[in-house]
Symmetry: C2
Subunit: 317 residues, 2 copies
């Protein structure tokens, strides 16, 4: 008997993944659909309902006590709505209400995808045992989430930890978000690749111009490729140091495709952190690669639902 099962949803611009997850973070059942990202909002919702339908028909479903959702942002946990940048049909879309209806009225916990990944790394990954942590995904974009005082800090709307859109260069390049010099504008994969190409780096015979290809060139010693990763590392370090200086964290966990470049990113990142994290109380800060794989979003959404359920139980709700 599983008495502490939750359903989890990981909603992105490419796929909608669902799972039944137990109290140990084990995935007992999965379902998935491609996100019909260019369709109208109700069509996207039907893909979510299809995923949930595969879960609810399982005999395991009777043990499910809550639903956790990690969604591409921005989300609004207080209103129960989502407006994922890459899903134009969802703008202020009432996802929580739709999921509650599709699951027979279960309690639903909504958080941003960066917050979900943070919940997973804190529960079972590189941030385990750390009461104050920043977890980041450096990929096509740069996202993140925070653990403070031993607990996930989603913030009132579920978006806290959006480190990709803090400015570390107030006179810097315009960012699509409307601000300037954002961490993402300097450190994301596409920006690492663009900067290398602008500075004269050229891809190999396969024509691969992704950040992964720039990372390979950097490992082989190409100075332009190395410099592009160093600049990304500097922006990440300034952002991580700012976070530590503001809220006191002792570890920054970094995952996502760009983090797979390994020491090409982490070595200059550690050096740059020493430059920007200067006050006594942030000097002990360490960085570590993420440990959770592609299931991080699902496991983290489950963690949020389990935590909410436990605090509700403790409060006698």
């Amino acid at each position: 008997m599983h008495t502490d099962l939750v359903a989890a949803l990981d909603i992105g611009g490419t796929k909608i993944a669902g799972a039944l997850v137990d109290g140990h973070g084990r995935i007992l059942l999965r379902a998935q659909r491609a996100t019909p990202a260019q369709e109208d909002g109700d069509t996207v919702m039907r893909a979510v309902e299809d995923v949930l339908g595969e879960l609810t028909v399982s005999p395991l479903w009777s043990g499910a006590r809550a639903v956790g959702i990690g969604s591409a942002g921005p989300v609004d946990a207080s209103a129960g709505t989502v407006s994922p940048v890459n899903v134009p049909g969802w703008r202020g879309y009432p996802l929580v209400e739709g999921v509650r209806r599709a699951t027979g009225g279960l309690p639903v916990e909504l958080i941003g995808d960066g917050v979900a990944i943070t919940a997973a790394e804190h529960w079972q990954g590189a941030a385990r045992g750390h009461d104050n942590a920043l977890c980041m995904v450096v990929s096509t974009g740069v996202g993140g989430g925070l653990v403070l005082n031993g607990q996930l800090h989603p913030g009132p709307t579920g978006n806290a930890g959006h480190i990709g859109h803090i400015s570390v260069d107030l006179d810097g390049d315009a960012c699509p978000c409307g601000s300037r010099g954002c961490v993402e504008r300097i450190a994301s994969g596409p920006n690492i690749a663009r900067r290398a190409l602008d500075a004269g780096w050229r891809p190999g015979p396969d024509g691969d111009t992704t950040a992964a290809a720039v990372g390979e060139a950097a490992r082989a010693g190409d100075p332009v490729a190395v410099a592009s990763f160093e600049r990304a590392a500097q922006a990440l370090a300034a952002g991580i140091a700012a976070t530590a200086t503001l809220v006191e964290i002792d570890i920054a966990v970094i995952g996502g495709g760009v983090a797979k470049a390994g020491e090409v990113l982490f070595a200059p990142l550690r050096r740059a952190l020493a430059d920007y994290a200067t006050l006594s109380f942030v000097q002990r800060l360490t960085v570590a690669p993420a440990l959770m794989g592609t299931d991080a979003g699902l496991v983290g959404a489950a963690a949020a639902a389990l935590t909410r359920r436990n605090s509700a139980t403790a409060a006698g709700v």
Copy 2:
């Protein structure tokens, strides 16, 4: 009968203030000494003991249940030590132990001075009723503190909210803290004055070259003075926006001498915030002048002691 009295200490590089404060934040008794900032550590401690001595001889003292300390930083609440930049005799100095001894073993709560001012503004000032707030002091330096989820967030060492030393210009001017382009390096009073002088502003017949004089010139329309305040406002806005994007705050409260410049600072600050606080969940962010006066440090230290006492009571400790 006062059954909920606490003692409060506000320790800075110039003065050491003490008070007995009741559960409504009323100061019932005061004591003060100049800080012998250039003396050895034990001499500075004796000044603290003299302040406490004036409080302990009062008949009111029997109602005191705890001591709250707000100290110039950095502090280390986990170790109970302080290392105020402007008090060289105190480096890792065991202030908490000394205060506990001088007060007959009362519980002692240590926080940084920016955190203390935040506690005061949240309890009785401009952040009252806000569950997520940043409170700042913009003066000779730039300090601050955070309220998250309705509670003060001092962080494990009592230093959280150090917004003056986050970098908003990663290639910017070197800051005495060792980093570059810190908010304080751009927005503090001395930096506002220096930038105006460098750009050709000249003081009036009184020779006053402080930020207050630059502020008067800005109010009178001097374009160089206006530009220096605008640059400070831009750095403050980038820092405030970063904080909101990281932890979700809905108000930034600004006090200190530079904030007294009024609309010369606040008008460009509101404009710059619109540039840097772009994501949907930070757009509702407002800024407001601080309401607590020179007693903010004492009232905030008292608030921290009262809160600690109440949670300890609730936990049956």
